[in-house]
Symmetry: C2
Subunit: 187 residues, 2 copies
């Protein structure tokens, strides 16, 4: 793998169940599970994107607990996963931060549970990432998914994850884990 990649978990702009634009709340296990998965598969950064200041400071307090508070000695594995965590107030700030870190403007890869025309399969993208240099930001939505504007602004849309049944409602934690394994895992 030559490409550098990061993960962004977006809490705004996303849809709620009635397709209204909302800012979702950050959940504690989204912080830990996705940090651990991102770290395991070699992500440079894990961006938690929320414009809500109270939510930003909540994430900061959780990270602080595990990084320099009591949790740091209780469970050093969590500390090391949270080292890659970064809070930004919008997606553009995550893109800009990645550009500063890598010197390249990252390509934005967007994921969703619904099929869209022009989507790329995980296998095709995995091959491309293994061969090409470059920087990539994998963007995941919370709630009922990323808005159309985010999809429209993306460089690439990944095909949805399909199981063997008609039921297709993975948690965002499961979806992130599976995409990272498909793109960067060693089988």
């Amino acid at each position: 793998m030559k490409a550098v990649f990061s993960v962004a978990l977006v809490h705004y702009p996303v849809y709620d169940k009635n397709r209204l634009l909302v800012a979702t709340a950050v959940t504690n296990l989204d912080i830990h599970d996705i940090a651990r998965a991102a770290k395991t598969f070699g992500a440079d950064r894990y961006y938690i994107v929320t414009p809500v200041e109270g939510q930003q400071s909540l994430v900061g307090r959780v990270a602080e607990h595990w990084q320099s508070g009591w949790g740091a000695t209780y469970n050093p594995k969590r500390k090391s996963a949270l080292d890659i965590l970064q809070i930004t107030s919008d997606l553009e700030s995550a893109v800009a931060d990645m550009e500063v870190r890598t010197g390249i403007r990252p390509k934005i890869i967007v994921t969703g549970a619904t099929g869209r025309s022009g989507s790329v399969s995980s296998a095709t993208l995995a091959k491309r990432l293994a061969e090409e240099d470059g920087a990539y930001l994998l963007v995941f939505g919370t709630g009922w998914g990323l808005t159309e504007e985010v999809f429209d602004s993306a460089d690439l849309v990944l095909e949805p994850i399909l199981g063997s049944s008609d039921y297709n409602h993975l948690s965002v934690r499961s979806a992130v884990s599976i995409y990272l394994d498909r793109l960067f895992g060693r089988t």
Copy 2:
């Protein structure tokens, strides 16, 4: 896929961080995330294994809320995932239940984060599951992992999931999702 499979999440017997035998607490997102992933990939049953009666009734109350309480109309997708949920007090009861449901004693497949000799790769097992009839129970441990006795009694041990870094500490929710995708996902 011809084989029937189920998932078991074991809260006892497992190790804690000091390798002492403990019963871990059930966490709310273990119920939901794993039920949704198991349902997506076509599992027949999702067994939550705990001998602690207070924990069993807690899981029952959560399931009840989403299945016939207020949550059932708020989010029918959760209801349908929890339809496959079953609580058992030990692993043998899950095996016995699967035997009653399928008419075959299931093969026990155990997973863990550490490499063991004689382990089988996900790719090899996926091929076998696609070709063979039979019943399989995929067993996952909470806390710091399943005990040696559980590993010794298994029919098959799956190779650990490796990322692209030295860090290899996925949550059990991530690990279950990735194994299910590797074994039963359509890419």
